[in-house]
Symmetry: none
Subunit: 201 residues, 4 copies
DNA sequence: AATGAATGAGGATTCATTCAT
DNA sequence: GATGAATGAATCCTCATTCAT
């Protein structure tokens, strides 16, 4: 046993509980960046380091790998939901916001691929996928409300399939390139997409 | 020495001259299975074990993780090329073979996503992506030859984008389900696809 | 991911597979010493270090903490069994060997206390206790065969209870002191004990 | 645990003046429970949580792990002392109280084994043992006063050895089972024991 | 005086890779 | 060539302990 932190070492700054909310946000931001650079399997230690916090803080806020990924995705999904709920929202507009997140967040793309892996991928991320379908369903619900009859896509299922397809096309080293490809993909599907941008309430 | 096979030294394995080739094939087959079950990041030790060979053999044949993935992909790509080169080949037919590989091989799907990640994914697979675009280009070349004017897709670029999109839709725990979704995706794109099956020379 | 051993570092001696048996024995010996000094919960890393092997070797030979403890105990139990099976063995003689192990091996004392904890102790050692009762039963069987009628102890159950009691008395910093107390304990129980020494076939 | 408050009272934020004393008692009670469930090495955080206080409070009252264990033991020892000091106390009666604590408290058993480990056990508990012999001596003193000539046990040393032996037998998942075994052990020693129960002044 | 967040060291465990046989 | 043991770095995760509020 013996946990002893070698006793009398110097102890770095401890900003106290006040830092809690800041740390949580920093962790989510760091995770988003690290996910983008290294994928969902990136070492948690690197995320903590980039967030500028100790390992323990990460575990305090997010008991496991999935909880952190959830928190990251939650932000993406919420923006899509907000875009869908905004006054005067149109399908094209919501898809624009959705597309923005596709081009921005590796984790969000992973979400749309969640059931694709259906147990076929790394065990380690399986837990992530447990919540993924719930989040995915929230995206579907957001889009569903704006489906109108005169549409090339037959229904919500087609729409989510289309989203998955576009996410398959979202490729490239820069966001601009990814956006270009996303728009090309939507065009191939004959679906109109509004401005690709984050939701601004 | 009599001609009678009295020799009962038990040979743990058949160390004949063709053992090397056999081992190589076994490793590729094992890798394909393991990739499907655990993703491209699966431990190499498990692949060697499933192939029934020692760790050293794996390293002899494939100096690094990427070389093994390449070898797996090579087989997929080659079948597509063969389908494209066969007498009487049609675009629909080639796409059928391509689609079969999409539904069959996690590694092959990864290939089509290769440049999508463009350095954004796990470091460990970066090396894989080095060769990926070369392989991807071979697929593109195979399809290009069969593009005819009267097509909804404007050209080879559109076609490869479409392939990437379909791969994004290829999802689900069973091959049948993945095929169903792939076909639905092609349908959304308005592209005709032939029988989904491996190439049979 | 990325496991890279920082690439081109120097790699210490590797005696090859020949070392396997030696390493296993060294691990068991090291474990015995470390258990004696620090208890059954001692860090495995320290055991590996004392054995002069890498962490991985420990895990190769003993998949978990319990397997290592089992291996250590196995040696103790076997000696008792051998003492019991030897020609001309008497209960007093077997108890002498048993007592020697009680005074020698912290792990062996733990064995006799195995079901005492019955889930009340550190979760981490629970697994150890799974096998413990099997080993404990082997000790009981070894003693049972030598129980004669004219004994103060009513039967095997009493005998094992007595062993547990003596193990509770086996205390002190030196083996000599522990032996002194063990003999005093047997005396309080009115049980005759032979020479306290390891079994010498 | 005796009449010890099971420490489950809700404590919103009652910062009254007696809060300190109440917290101290809650910590001891919580520690007793946690020790029983998880052993002396149980995480301190769990004890604080069960006591319904912050980590800091634990450290305020008990500067180190040993201080907390001491406080727990102190209660056990005190009850034995009180039983010994009570009017009309007999050795059998005191042993009954002692036995009750043996069957109830993992920490108390540890106390009797304190010098057995004599530096051979987990470092983390070493400090505990510093005070242990003092407490052990208090138990010895309590029993000594009731030793009468006509006893099978020759003196206080024999008596304490017997106590250690019985503690070695106190085994099993339920208190009832542990009591059964303790009584069997005393019987093997030929020592009469009174009612096994906490001291009720 | 209490709370509970933060730090970060320690120990567990897993593999990539090398290499003696 | 093949085998599979050995090494050890990296990552995970868990606390002991401190300290801002």
């Amino acid at each position: 046993m013996t946990q002893h932190p070698t006793a009398e070492e110097r102890r770095p700054a401890n900003d106290g509980p006040k830092a809690a909310a800041r740390n949580r946000a920093a962790l989510i931001a760091a995770a988003r960046e690290v996910y983008a650079e290294h994928g969902l399997d990136a070492p948690l230690s690197g995320i903590a380091r980039r967030a500028g916090v100790g390992q323990g803080v990460l575990y305090r806020h997010f008991p496991d790998r999935a909880a952190l990924a959830d928190a990251v995705l939650e932000e993406n999904v919420r923006e899509v939901e907000q875009a869908a709920a905004a006054a005067g929202a149109t399908l094209a507009g919501v898809l624009g916001v959705l597309t923005w997140h596709l081009t921005e967040s590796a984790a969000f793309i992973g979400l749309l691929h969640a059931d694709r892996t259906g147990g076929r991928t790394e065990d380690r991320t399986d837990v992530v996928h447990a919540h993924a379908s719930a989040l995915s369903e929230r995206v579907a619900r957001s889009l569903r409300g704006h489906l109108t009859g005169g549409h090339r896509l037959g229904g919500a299922d087609d729409l989510m399939l289309a989203v998955a397809m576009v996410s398959g096309a979202v490729t490239g080293p820069t966001r601009a390139e990814r956006e270009r490809r996303a728009l090309a993909a939507w065009r191939l599907l004959g679906v109109e997409v509004g401005a690709v941008r984050p939701f601004a309430g």
